[in-house]
């Protein structure tokens, strides 16, 4: 309960800070007041149309990725699992890359996110088909790796053969992930996927706890393993698909957040789900604030910053784990 309060406060504060940062130089309280009073004029407009969707998307996507990471780690009983593992982020990125290459983005604003979502859907069906309806976690990992590798190879192929250097440039930058210049339309596009995905993952809480004892023991505790796997894969795919479609590839959140928070929830997979959702939201808000504070004039990419934050945290964890070894 205390952890919940701390994380919720952190998210609220970071959310408010995120709203007050931007190229339009205004006082923090002034901009918050402009958002709340909702009067007309340039500042309320900036707040409503630019900063609010950006902060909401950061919280939503960070929360979703954190939760998906916790669910996958719990399902695979492996602290190194991350949402990208099931191949959906790779296939969503490939869909987006195709849209960028085909110039869809110029003709339709939502062409790119819709193509990415389509890629994610194709990816999840391929993974489920390859992994089979019944079958353990191992086949799921193998199928995920196969689809990720295939999507990665196809993405490289598109870059390789791209006749248009600007498109190639766009593709590379898009793949680094960003929340700049996103509108409420983007939010409404990602929201249903991430909310439904989070709902599916929330329903796996008890099953993930039971899996602490291994697949056999969990099954005799009344758990349906095939149903659990379906929920975990579809939930993760919905979140990652929705997130990648509007923000590009954002790594490390789903890997690092559950890892950091695990000791604070007594390592219980069910409690780690909501804790990682809050923690993920906080981390991505923090990263998106850093992007705008550190180099406001250059378009620093969000995925770059999460990796820069994530890697040292991970190094710290490695040293901690090494100290605990006999």
């Amino acid at each position: 309960m205390r952890l919940f309060l701390i994380l919720a406060t952190l998210v609220t504060v970071l959310f408010a800070v995120s709203l007050t940062i931007g190229p339009a130089e205004t006082g923090g309280l002034q901009s918050l007041a402009a958002l709340l009073t909702g009067s007309d004029g340039p500042l309320p407009m900036v707040m409503r149309e630019i900063r609010l969707p950006r902060a909401l998307l950061a919280a939503l996507i960070g929360g979703g990725l954190g939760m998906a990471g916790a669910a996958l780690q719990g399902y695979l009983r492996n602290p190194l699992a991350e949402p990208g593992l099931i191949g959906v982020s790779g296939s969503a990125a490939f869909g987006a890359v195709l849209a960028l290459q085909a110039g869809l983005t110029a003709t339709a604003t939502l062409g790119l996110p819709l193509a990415a979502l389509l890629g994610a859907v194709v990816g999840v069906f391929l993974v489920m088909g390859l992994a089979g309806a019944r079958g353990g976690s191992l086949t799921l990992i193998l199928a995920g790796i196969a689809i990720s590798a295939l999507a990665g190879a196809l993405t490289s192929l598109v870059l390789n053969l791209s006749p248009n250097p600007f498109a190639a440039n766009d593709i590379v930058f898009w793949m680094m992930g960003s929340l700049a210049d996103r509108s409420m339309t983007h939010l409404w596009l990602a929201l249903p996927f991430i909310v439904i995905g989070a709902g599916l993952l929330a329903s796996t809480a008890r099953g993930l706890d039971a899996l602490t004892l291994g697949e056999d023991a969990a099954e005799t505790l009344g758990l349906s393993l095939s149903r659990l796997r379906l929920l975990v894969v579809l939930g993760t795919a919905a979140i990652v698909g929705g997130a990648t479609a509007v923000a590009g590839s954002i790594g490390f959140v789903g890997l690092v957040v559950p890892h950091i928070l695990r000791p604070f929830v007594g390592a219980q997979p069910s409690r780690l789900l909501w804790a990682s959702a809050l923690g993920g939201a906080a981390l991505l808000l923090m990263a998106d604030i850093s992007v705008r504070v550190i180099l406001p004039d250059r378009d620093l990419k969000l995925g770059v910053v999460t990796a820069l934050i994530g890697a040292p945290l991970f190094l710290h964890l490695i040293f901690k784990t090494r100290r605990e070894l006999p």
Binding site: R206, T212, L213, G214, D216, T220, G222, Q268
Partner: protein, 252 residues
């Protein structure tokens, strides 16, 4: 009341018949030892009886149940003592109550009492808040038995629970199962230590040669002829003033 009934059970894995024609019933208050050489199919028999493996022919009363009903009829302890996360012992034991908990996941007082009782029964009070995955092998085994007891089922099935434990833990574990039997709860336990099987089990089932070779009181199953046939060993077996003593001697 019959807690487990197998009728003419046959299992084939990867086109290799493991056993066939296995019929077995377990009633209340029994401690049944499942013995047999390596590869005889003890684990396969238990997993197929639970419905965790497909059955080629025959019936198992447990496999016929829905997963929810089965979770209230039998608790299963696989051979691999898996504890994936460093959860506190108390939370690990509480997993045994999962089949009974309301949707909210909150543990009602009656269930908490069962958890506390299981922890006390195995003498785990001092480990309550310790991370289960960081305990020693013997302590982990005890925590997992407490988890299975907290499930509060009439039947417990456990696969080699005493493998790799020190003598004190081995004896204490068998005594826990024997005590459960005295209170009407039955256990089917697979084990390789025939000495402990002879001393503690109320009944032995000998699985060998693709079926049940013998089923009965320990002294009727651990005969020279059956031991030679199933295990290829000779043994010394006597009823002494401190109970039955069984010691395998030589490979034939």
């Amino acid at each position: 009341m019959t807690l487990l009934s197998l009728t003419d059970l046959a299992v084939t894995l990867r086109n290799r018949p493991v056993f066939s024609g296995v019929s077995l019933t377990i009633g209340e208050g029994e401690l049944v030892g499942l013995i047999g050489p390596n590869g005889a199919g003890k684990t396969t028999l238990m997993r197929s009886a639970l419905g965790l493996l497909p059955i080629q022919s025959g019936q198992s009363s447990l496999a016929a149940m829905s997963t929810a009903d089965r979770a209230r009829a039998v608790a299963w302890m696989p051979q691999a003592r898996e504890i994936a996360w460093p959860v506190p012992v108390e939370r690990l034991v509480a997993l045994g109550r999962l089949p009974y908990l309301p949707i909210s996941g909150k543990i009602p007082p009656a269930d908490q009492e069962k958890i506390d009782a299981a922890i006390a029964y195995l003498g785990l009070e001092e480990f309550r808040a310790r991370a289960a995955s960081r305990l020693s092998g013997g302590e982990q085994a005890r925590a997992l038995i407490a988890r299975a007891i907290a499930q509060d089922t009439p039947l417990l099935m456990t696969d080699e629970p005493i493998a790799g434990l020190d003598p004190a833990h081995q004896i204490a574990t068998m005594q826990v199962f024997a005590d459960l039997a005295r209170h009407g709860r039955s256990t089917l336990v697979s084990l390789h230590d025939l000495g402990l099987a002879a001393r503690h089990c109320t009944r032995l089932v000998l699985l060998a040669e693709g079926g049940i070779l013998a089923d009965g009181a320990p002294e009727d199953v651990l005969t020279d002829a059956l031991l030679a046939r199933a295990f290829g060993v000779t043994a010394w077996h006597q009823q002494t003033s401190s109970g039955p003593v069984f010691q395998p001697l030589e490979v034939i």
